[in-house]
């Protein structure tokens, strides 16, 4: 198992708040790693530090053996790291297809337009958007926009995919479909690091889970270990006395 | 040597008016993420307001100050509803163009009505003699008034309910709506305050220097430089930044032809933006 992503002693402070406090973990190639924790635990900030939106105050991010700490976001994307955001950011005025083409063109393989268009079409199809390719992205439903967010990230043929709450706001049927999709994505060779609140999804999908609380890493282990860890339960419930 | 000191002190006095003007600009940005490109035109309106009140209506010069604030406020609120309200949620491009269009209309009307000739309002205020130098009375008075208005603004924003509502909307518009604050109305009030500040600074400047319809541009540039020095959305920083700019002007303009001053200020502006994107006095988070 080769290590694809390694974050070491990440720290980030915003004004008076230590949003990320000395967080370290590693993601092996081919795995699905779940990143969970109560609201405000710093999960999205960790993602921002990894993919170049924010620069860590201290610490290091190594991807595929290369130090990408603090590099600009577009270079990190070029290195093969893609992200599907919690609050979707479709390129509204462009068509669904064009959104995916952007991903394919500027991703890891730096494709020319014709090849990118083929790949984009194929990925969009696989994610169920094949019937809506010419629509402007703004015309999609919320579920559709979530799929577009994912399709666009996948079109870049990343090595590592950061999923930020892709299941939020979906009904049970959509949730099941998305879980299947995530499994298929991993099967196609993409390593996944996912922030998620839907516990049944995290438990069923993840090989390992990392728990953050108030900016620090609280626990790390298999889904079973995490589910039975009293400190984790306490963090979510907010009061350790409740479990005694 | 002490000639320079006098220049510096004078620069600080005038700089406080720059700070006042910049406060208007930075307040609007801080509350609603709109850059008011009609800022310069409104400063000009403030200048002409003083001219017409003082010469045509025989108004006492400094009595025009509250009038400028009042009219500026009403005008600002109207401007918000006419030109800004519809473009608030849209890409920045749109609000830039909207306020710029207002600027074009105002300057165009101004030029048509008053041409580009210089206007002047003669103001006689006794000066202050300190250590053998006379500091111009008008400069001192203008600086004092600017400080008073800045103080009043502080009280408004931090010690009134309206101020609290403004801060709430600035922080999170949706959340403010949820707790019952009529956000659009509050935004219009905030815009009105910003415009009032620009208008009254124009009036104050008119007590110091002659002006034309086109003077607004130079003062708008100064406001931008100050905003950048003090940090976007930070009114206290704006005041300090204004004083800093006044200081810099006091130190450099004696050695430079007048035409070059805007060029130097522009260079300063761009350099500051590139090196300190959050302002030199970044008291608050971006």
């Amino acid at each position: 198992m080769t290590v694809l992503l390694e974050v070491t002693r990440l720290n980030k402070r915003f004004g008076g708040v230590q949003a990320v406090n000395d967080v370290s973990f590693a993601v092996d190639e081919g795995q699905i790693i779940g990143l969970i924790g109560p609201n405000g635990a710093g999960k999205s900030t960790v993602f921002n530090l990894i993919n170049g939106i924010s620069e860590p105050d201290l610490g290091q991010v190594v991807f595929g053996g290369r130090d990408i700490t603090g590099r600009p976001a577009y270079r990190i994307a070029r290195a093969g790291l893609a992200r599907a955001h919690q609050i979707v950011q479709p390129l509204h005025g462009l068509s669904v297809l064009d959104n995916c083409v952007v991903g394919a063109c500027f991703g890891r393989e730096n494709l020319a337009l014709p090849q990118a268009q083929e790949i984009a079409r194929e990925v969009a199809d696989r994610l169920g958007l094949g019937d809506r390719l010419e629509l402007p992205a703004s015309a999609l439903t919320t579920a559709g926009k979530k799929r577009l967010e994912l399709a666009r990230a996948l079109a870049a043929r990343p090595r590592l995919l950061l999923l930020d709450e892709v299941l939020a706001g979906l009904n049970p049927t959509e949730t099941d479909r998305m879980i299947e999709t995530v499994q298929r994505i991993r099967a196609s060779g993409v390593t996944i690091l996912m922030i998620e609140h839907i516990m049944r999804a995290v438990m069923s999908l993840s090989d390992r889970i990392i728990v953050l609380n108030l900016g620090s890493k609280l626990a790390e282990g298999s889904p079973q270990q995490i589910a039975n860890d009293p400190t984790v339960i306490a963090a979510y419930l907010g009061d350790s006395k409740l479990i005694h | 040597m002490s000639g320079i000191l006098a220049s510096v002190v004078d620069g600080v006095l005038v700089g406080s008016i720059y700070g006042l003007a910049a406060m208007g600009l930075t307040l609007i940005w801080g509350v609603m993420r709109v850059i008011n490109l009609a800022h310069g035109a409104i400063i000009v309106l403030g200048m002409f307001l003083l001219y017409f009140l003082a010469t045509a209506a025989g108004f006492p010069i400094y009595g025009a100050i509250p009038v400028a604030i009042g009219i500026g406020f009403v005008f600002g609120v109207a401007l918000y509803w006419i030109a800004v309200h519809r473009v608030i949620g849209q890409p920045e491009l749109m609000s830039l163009l909207a306020t710029f269009a207002v600027n074009m209309i105002l300057i165009g009307l101004g030029t048509a009505l008053w041409s580009t000739s210089p206007y002047n309002v003669p103001v006689r205020v006794p000066g202050l003699r300190v250590a053998g130098y006379t500091f111009t009375g008008t400069h001192i008075l203008a600086a004092v008034i600017a400080a008073v208005i800045a103080g009043a603004l502080y009280l408004l924003v931090y010690h009134t309910r309206i101020g609290k509502a403004i801060r709430a909307v600035a922080s999170n518009r949706d959340a403010a709506e949820l707790v019952g604050i009529p956000s659009a109305q509050i935004l219009s009030l905030a815009f009105g305050v910003g415009v009032a500040l620009a208008s009254v600074s124009g009036t104050l400047i008119a007590t110091l220097f002659p002006f034309t319809v086109l003077s607004g541009e130079a003062y708008q540039l100064k406001s931008f430089v100050v905003t950048v020095l003090g940090g976007l959305g930070n009114p206290a920083g704006a005041l300090l930044g204004g004083v800093a700019l006044g200081l810099i002007e006091g130190l450099t303009t004696p050695f430079m032809p007048v035409d070059w001053v805007p060029v130097v200020e522009f260079a300063l502006f761009v350099l500051c933006l590139i090196t300190f994107p959050r302002g030199i006095f970044a008291f608050t988070k971006a």
Partner: protein, 323 residues
């Protein structure tokens, strides 16, 4: 490039451009030529400005600086070095876009409004520098002597040649706008214009692309500046760096439909017609600014897509043919 010619649009505009070129030439109608050359200049300014405003989403308020600098470089080369106008204007284009690339890398780091203001400042600063630059005639500018038109066969013949060159530049502007829009570079620009941070996360090299767009958008306006001031015979600072014209270019882009290919050209043409009508009717250039401002405000508030935006929304199939 081959892909470009498979669609109807490039053919349509080539035919129109040929008509533009030939009609006044064949009928020897000097007045028509003069009004068309002005329209052509505006079209070049507007459609290149569109690359920044409509594609990348950055308002270049000071866009006229390219036109003015192009004019100065060209006239200097023709006057002092005895170059012919074609080489001089092309060389000016290259120099100005190289300068734009350098400048662009710096000022495009600034966000939205500050970039817009910085471009005004660049224009003002350059105007100030040129006014004090003796080799370029300082505040009086450069005057071309009549023998500058010698290589083209005398003044009257030269004016026709320049006209054809300007129409060629106009065609080049429209074709390049079209080709860029259908290219990977154009897609990256459009992504930046839609959401710059999302585009960066997707891998679009935003600093480079923005600077390239700024540089590309400088080339043809600089060339046409050279041609236009050569035709006029003189160039001086306030006319070369006129902020009013710069602003009008923005209004033209918005009027016709920013982001579309034909929009800015249409907007330029319509605005020019409207302006001529107003100048004879109102005879106050101040009201020109008021009307342009009111027009811009109306467009921004109610029809942000401009004319073509409206047409494409109402009749979506026209977008397939026209762009």
């Amino acid at each position: 490039m081959k892909l470009v010619w498979r669609r109807p649009f490039p053919w349509i505009i080539t035919v129109v451009a040929l008509a533009f070129a030939l009609v006044p030439y064949v009928t020897n109608d000097v007045q028509l030529r003069e009004s068309l050359i002005l329209a052509a200049v505006y079209i070049v300014l507007a459609s290149n400005l569109n690359l920044m405003i409509g594609y990348a989403g950055y308002v270049n308020f000071g866009n006229i600086v390219f036109f003015g600098l192009g004019g100065y470089f060209c006239l200097f080369m023709v006057n002092a070095w005895r170059w012919n106008v074609l080489s001089a204007s092309l060389a000016s284009g290259v120099i100005v876009s190289a300068l734009a690339l350098l400048f662009g890398l710096g000022i495009l780091r600034l966000r939205g409004a500050f970039f817009a203001l910085a471009t005004i400042g660049v224009n003002a600063a350059i105007q100030q520098l040129v006014t004090n630059f003796e080799p370029w005639g300082g505040a009086t500018g450069i005057y071309l002597s009549l023998d500058a038109y010698g290589p083209l066969g005398g003044p009257r013949q030269a004016l026709w040649t320049v006209y054809l060159l300007v129409v060629a530049a106009t065609l080049a502007s429209l074709l390049s706008s079209y080709a860029i829009k259908r290219s990977k570079f154009g897609l990256g620009l459009l992504a930046i214009g839609q959401n710059e941070s999302a585009a960066a996360v997707l891998g679009v090299p935003t600093p480079l692309y923005k600077a390239l767009a700024y540089s590309v958008s400088a080339f043809l306006p600089a060339v046409v500046g050279g041609l236009y001031f050569y035709k006029t015979g003189i160039i001086e600072p306030s006319g070369a760096f006129s902020l009013s014209l710069s602003i009008e270019a923005i209004v033209m882009v918005m009027l016709g439909g920013q982001g579309t290919v034909i929009g800015p050209a249409l907007g330029a043409f319509l605005y020019e017609e409207m302006r001529r009508f107003l100048l004879t009717a109102a005879a106050f250039s101040n009201f020109q600014l008021v009307i342009a401002g009111a027009l811009l405000l109306t467009i921004v508030l109610f029809v942000p897509g401009g004319l073509m935006g409206f047409v494409y929304r109402r009749w979506p199939r026209t977008q397939k043919a026209l762009e």
